[in-house]
């Protein structure tokens, strides 16, 4: 039995060895092609444009060196956009991780209707982001807002003096932040729930017997044990939020007065709406260093998971 096994294995190995260079390349090429055409090409094009004076509708193009970067760095709207991108990304992750932990803890134990609640929580994730954002646009609308209506009906605000959720810079920033958090919460909740169920039941029980209360068990035992899975949720969330322009574009289009502009939406405003492809390309290149750092940490988490 052992002998035939070895023979069979040897055969498979030799067939595999003969075919592997071609077969391997063939299996691999769609992924390479995809990345080269849809990621690598545009990326190189963006670098190329960023050092030129390319404009929409103009066939001529000249090398201008760092001119685009210089002018962008002096532009106040770029500073606002950079600040907003960081605020939205970091704050929404804080909100999401705290909220997702609370949701995961409350959804961990079985109770009547848990399936329904899990389904409802997952809905924002499965719905198209544009539809969700449009829904929020109505919820936060200056005239038709249901939030305003409730506040007025509860006599907290008088009609016509109610806050303009998307019309005042600070409220608009808060609103965009809220929608980003709403959008990411389901994803993180599902990841954290999976992480939580992976912890053997004995461990929190041992902590309870050892004398730890709810908070100590969560903060010193369960959450530290979930660190790898939490970092996965955070890293994905960072990328989703940092590169997203749908939410801002639909809710505020960057307004009022560019106060909610982010790097992707500013690149779109400069490059496509303003026809200044070069400036748009230069703005979008500022995403790269941040994304490289996040990618590095993602690879590290993946590597650790492989080692363990």
């Amino acid at each position: 039995m052992a002998v035939t096994n070895n023979v069979a294995r040897g055969k498979i190995k030799s067939i595999g060895a003969a075919q592997s260079p071609l077969l391997g390349a063939a299996m691999f090429s769609p992924a390479v092609l995809y990345i080269v055409l849809l990621v690598g090409g545009p990326f190189l094009l963006a670098i190329f444009y960023a050092f030129s004076d390319a404009r929409i509708g103009n066939t001529e193009m000249h090398y201008v060196g760092l001119e685009n970067f210089r002018s962008i760095l002096q532009s106040p709207s770029f500073h606002v956009a950079l600040r907003n991108s960081l605020i939205f990304t970091i704050c929404s992750q804080i909100v999401v991780i705290v909220g997702a932990n609370i949701l995961a803890i409350s959804l961990e134990n079985t109770f009547r209707g848990r399936g329904l609640i899990r389904f409802l929580i997952l809905l924002p994730w499965v719905a198209p982001i544009a539809l969700g954002a449009i829904g929020w646009k109505w919820i936060l609308d200056s005239i038709y807002s249901v939030i305003t209506w409730v506040l007025v009906a509860a006599h907290i605000y008088k009609p016509f003096s109610a806050p303009m959720w998307l019309g005042e810079p600070s409220l608009a920033i808060a609103s965009v932040l809220l929608v980003h958090s709403w959008r990411l919460m389901p994803f993180s909740t599902v990841i954290l729930l999976a992480g939580r169920t992976a912890i053997p039941k004995d461990i929190p029980e041992a902590a309870a017997v050892d004398g730890a209360g709810f908070w100590r068990t969560q903060l010193q035992i369960v959450i530290p044990m979930m660190r790898p899975i939490i970092s996965v949720a955070v890293l994905f969330g960072l990328i989703f939020t940092f590169t997203d322009m749908t939410v801002v574009y639909i809710l505020t289009a960057g307004g009022p007065f560019d106060s909610t502009q982010t790097l992707p939406s500013l690149a779109f405003a400069f490059g496509i709406q303003g026809s200044d492809l070069a400036a748009g390309a230069a703005v979008s290149l500022f995403l790269v260093p941040v994304l490289v750092i996040i990618a590095y940490f993602m690879l590290r988490v993946a590597h650790r998971a492989e080692v363990n």
Partner: protein, 345 residues
């Protein structure tokens, strides 16, 4: 140190179903090593978890040190528990694992180091304090779990099959270590196991459970020599007690009392025994076969002998059991009854 008592303790997991634990009344003695022994699903772990406060009783009371603790959380019961999986905190070093109960109970920080070192030295793991649990062997993990349990000097120790994850060789030495450890600290301990050897070797007393019901609570000698019913008789001992039915009683005798010989001594019972299998186990032989003739034709019986070289397979020989080694059980209740004279032929 404290005494653990239960009064009519019952746990029903699903309404309308049989209870996992049914009306258990027990009382440990001060500093005793009490073993809950039973097959899997017998409710022994559920019973232990109720005492620990990890499971809420459906009815009945639990008392620790004379106080009803039903509504106290595990942290307020002054118990320590060693889990089957050890449940060490994987992200903490051995030192921090052992110190965790101290932190959780708000013991002054200055005392931690001395207490952790005391517990670690008691179990001989002083050199491992900087390691993480994943860097330890099974035996070392078990000792860390014990050190974590002892460090805050609990009133009661609860141990849930702590040896079942060790290999056979390590288990024997760990068992001995546990016994020495218990003698050293003298804390009342409750130990759950399905392994009768562990139960007999370690227990001051053994409580035999099946299907959530206590069948017998007694010293190892009592439960082995004077089983309260046929379940205890067949659960303890390997091979188990031989049982033969005689009218309205069941008669039992241990394999070691069923040996070859002629019934010259007047107070022995004679059987004709056909040998069907012999197993050599080094220090002893297990011989199995069937009874021949009489009322017990074909009944399967085990014998445990020091030597069985001269017994041949398929031979039929005379075997005897001393009269005083016969145990009698009622046929309907399966409970033990007084010995009585029977006509064997």
């Amino acid at each position: 140190m404290a005494v653990v008592q239960t009064r009519d303790l019952t746990k029903v997991f699903k309404e309308g179903q049989l209870g996992a634990v049914n009306n258990v009344n027990l009382e440990t003695r001060e500093g005793e090593f009490l073993v809950f022994l039973g097959p899997s699903g017998s409710g022994k772990t559920t019973l232990l978890r109720m005492i620990a406060g990890l499971e809420t009783p459906t009815s009945g009371d639990i008392l620790i040190g004379g106080k009803v603790v039903n509504n106290l959380s595990p942290r307020d019961r002054r118990i320590a528990m060693v889990f089957q999986s050890y449940a060490l905190y994987p992200h903490l070093s051995v030192y921090k694992n052992i110190a965790f109960p101290l932190r959780a109970q708000n013991v002054k920080k200055e005392l931690h180091k001395a207490k952790v070192e005391w517990a670690a030295s008691l179990l001989g793991i002083g050199a491992l304090l900087d390691r993480k649990p994943r860097e330890l062997s099974g035996g070392e993990r078990q000792r860390v779990a014990l050190a974590r349990a002892i460090v805050r000097e609990p009133a009661v120790f609860l141990l849930d099959e702590p040896l079942s994850n060790l290999d056979a060789k390590l288990r024997a030495s760990a068992r001995e270590e546990l016994e020495r450890f218990h003698r050293g600290v003298g804390t009342t301990s409750i130990y759950v196991t399905h392994d009768q050897v562990e139960a007999m070797a370690m227990g001051d007393r053994v409580m035999v459970l099946n299907k959530g019901v206590v069948h017998q609570l007694g010293t190892p000698t009592e439960v082995y020599d004077n089983p309260a019913d046929t379940f205890v008789a067949t659960f303890l001992g390997s091979p188990p007690m031989n049982l033969v039915e005689m009218g309205d009683v069941i008669v039992g005798f241990r394999p070691e009392h069923f040996r070859p010989g002629s019934a010259t001594a007047g107070d022995s019972v004679k059987f004709r025994f056909k040998i069907e299998n012999r197993e050599y186990l080094g220090s002893e032989w297990i011989v199995s076969g069937t009874l021949v003739g009489g009322k017990f034709e074909g009944k399967k019986i085990f014998s445990r002998l020091g030597s069985a070289q001269d017994l041949r397979l398929d031979d039929t020989c005379d075997f005897v059991v001393p009269q005083r080694e016969l145990k009698f059980f009622d046929r309907t209740t399966e409970k033990r009854v007084e010995p009585r004279g029977l006509s064997w032929q």
